[in-house]
């Protein structure tokens, strides 16, 4: 944050007390802060919910906001300094304003389309950032622009910026002896006389511009430059496509836990040494269901069989003999006591003749009496797994547990496991049966993930296209800018692969952000290209074709 502040202070203006812009840089950050706070408040008010990923929002807003305000301040700098302040603002905002409007609306559209995602965290993040971008737009065209008016007046009156002005003069050593000032900045009304000739547009505004204007433009518009760059891009695209193909989708909730924590160590070690699956619980709930009936007992046995053998699964998800159910314990108990006659002197055996050998079920009449005995003696550990109604005459819910095999990839195997187990519980389960395990949290994300991710990226690109075509009214430029955005996404996916990051809901949020930001970078250039008049006079060493000259200027100077 401080770094950004220092950077803004040094590069927004120039190194002279008059052209220094520490106050404007401060206002920039203030605007970012204000729009962060206001969008946050508004989003919360409208029912937006926070998740861990929202922590990165301030950085996103700094990225976009500082960009916008740099555009405004440099556009104003490039107007004729001898015009009145009103005229300069008008001219400057004419260029900067439309550029910012385009990028803001493309960004906002891309984000708001992201809100339709069924991944809640992504939708909410997009909502927050969409509002944030709009708020940035409002603050930069109101507060920041208003401040710029004041700043220009200050410059014209030759008053120093609040800090830089107090202790050094325009040509002192502290200000590089004024060497970094451009002819335009040295001219009247800042210095010199009113009658001096105004430097032409060809005089560069500052160092960065000089570099971009002369070196880079010349390099990229020459024949060889063009060929080399096209070649590099095609090669890199090939590498990227390879990376994209191999990108894995994976996520574990434990990623959110610090790598040094005990939990993380435990989970990692247990994955490494024991490859233990986790425990899946099956819950059966139904107030109407009478479990003691012969039919339902058979159903339950059948359900347990199907689970253990993992009926028609793509892979056997349940570890062998890992299903632990109170019902099997109870059956065995009833069977063993079936023939034990109650002793005359010593109480009774409620399970006597409670087992029907032929039908292999517990006799319905004696079901609950025998079950109570079981739960009081051998089956005490099962007590917590059964829920009786208030009168304790009927089972209303119960649960069973099984251990799953080790699932390596939540996105591939996890999703299959989830769909297989869900199919079994839906087909064979009694009453309302559902299952849960810790890692279901991971699996469930990926059920809709792939399709959602693609849809989301496509929607965002669609939004970009839509807005650009409206604002630029030029199909070629729109398509070219869109191509850049798509390329950045492809490159980014492959970077993930080469950097060992997996694709998951956190990364997909950033992909949406990537679309927004890369539009920023490309659209400003594309828009500048469209609005620039090809110069009539020749700049030394500049290329001759009309297109190339426009590029030259779009990237280098006026915008």
């Amino acid at each position: 944050m401080n770094l950004v502040a220092v950077y803004c202070v040094f590069f927004m203006g120039s190194c002279s007390p008059i052209h220094f812009r520490s106050a404007a840089a401060g206002i920039t950050l203030l605007c970012v802060g204000l729009s962060y706070a206001s969008s946050f408040g508004l989003a919360q008010y409208l029912g937006g919910k926070m998740a861990g990923i929202h922590g990165v929002l301030p950085f996103l807003l700094i990225g976009i906001g500082v960009d916008d305000m740099f555009v405004i301040s440099s556009a104003i700098d490039q107007t004729n300094p001898r015009h009145s302040t009103v005229e300069r603002m008008r001219k400057g905002m004419m260029h900067a304003g439309s550029s910012i409007t385009i990028t803001t609306f493309t960004n906002a559209m891309a984000f708001f389309f992201g809100c339709t995602s069924s991944l809640d965290a992504l939708a909410s993040f997009c909502f927050f950032s969409g509002l944030g971008v709009l708020m940035l737009y409002f603050t930069s065209i109101t507060i920041f622009t208003a401040f710029m008016v004041w700043d220009i007046k200050r410059q014209v009156n030759k008053k120093g910026d609040c800090c830089g002005g107090c202790f050094c003069k325009e040509d002192s050593i502290l200000c590089c002896k004024g060497s970094c000032l451009t002819p335009r900045q040295k001219a009247y009304p800042f210095q010199g006389n009113q009658d001096d000739e105004l430097p032409t547009e060809g005089e560069y505004i500052n160092g960065t511009q000089k570099f971009l204007h002369q070196k880079l433009s010349k390099a990229t518009t020459s024949t060889w430059g063009t060929i080399i760059i096209l070649l590099i891009w095609i090669l890199y695209l090939g590498v990227s496509i390879y990376g994209c193909m191999n990108l894995e989708i994976d996520f574990k909730t434990t990623y959110f836990i610090s790598e040094t924590s005990a939990i993380r160590t435990y989970v990692d070690k247990s994955d490494e040494y024991f490859k233990a699956g986790d425990i899946i619980s099956f819950y059966v709930e139904n107030n109407e269901l009478e479990i003691s009936s012969e039919e339902n007992q058979n159903k339950l046995v059948d359900f347990m069989d199907k689970l253990e053998s993992c009926d028609r699964c793509s892979q056997n998800w349940i570890k062998e003999k890992s299903l632990s159910s109170w019902f099997s314990g109870f059956q065995a108990f009833a069977k063993s006591l079936n023939k034990v006659r109650p002793k005359r002197n010593n109480g009774m055996n409620p399970c006597y003749k409670a087992w029907d050998d032929k039908k292999e079920v517990v006799v319905a009449d004696k079901f609950y009496k025998c079950l109570n005995t079981y739960l009081d003696t051998q089956g005490q550990q099962d007590k917590s797994k059964i829920k009786f109604n208030e009168e304790e005459t009927k089972i209303t819910a119960f649960k069973m547990e099984a251990r799953s095999v080790y699932v390596k990839s939540a996105a591939k195997e996890g999703v299959q496991l989830l769909s297989d187990i869900n199919r079994i519980t839906n087909t064979y389960g009694l009453g309302e049966t559902y299952s849960f395990s810790q890692r279901y949290l991971d699996y469930e994300t990926y059920v809709v993930f792939e399709q959602e991710a693609i849809l989301n990226v496509a929607l965002a690109l669609g939004a970009v296209f839509f807005i650009l075509i409206i604002f630029t009214a030029n199909l070629t430029v729109t398509l070219l800018v869109l191509l850049q955005v798509a390329l950045v996404d492809v490159f980014l996916f492959s970077l993930l692969y080469f950097w060992g990051v997996t694709l998951n809901s956190v990364t997909i949020v950033n992909i949406t952000v990537a679309i927004g930001l890369s539009v920023d970078y490309s659209a400003h250039i594309g828009h500048a290209f469209l609005t620039i008049d090809p110069p009539t006079t020749h700049i030394d060493g500049s290329p001759t074709s009309k297109r190339e000259q426009r590029i030259f200027k779009a990237r280098g100077a006026i915008g």
Partner: protein, 62 residues
């Protein structure tokens, strides 16, 4: 237009550099992705797009 976009990109870059040493997964992930976004975004906007525009950009003003 170039310098302002460039400065904007560079300041965004500075904003995320501080995330690099973080051990939190979200911030790590965020740093890597933004690193890519800024580098690729600027490279495409400043080098590739102008090349394409100079080859087939429109000539009429809007």
């Amino acid at each position: 237009m170039g310098p302002s976009v460039f400065h904007g990109a560079f300041s965004a870059f500075l904003a995320i550099v501080v995330l690099a040493p973080s051990t939190s997964y979200i911030f790590q992930n965020f740093f890597k992705m933004w690193f890519g976004i800024i580098i690729y975004g600027v490279a495409n906007g400043f080098i590739f797009l102008p090349v394409l525009l100079s080859l087939c950009g429109p000539l009429n003003n809007v």
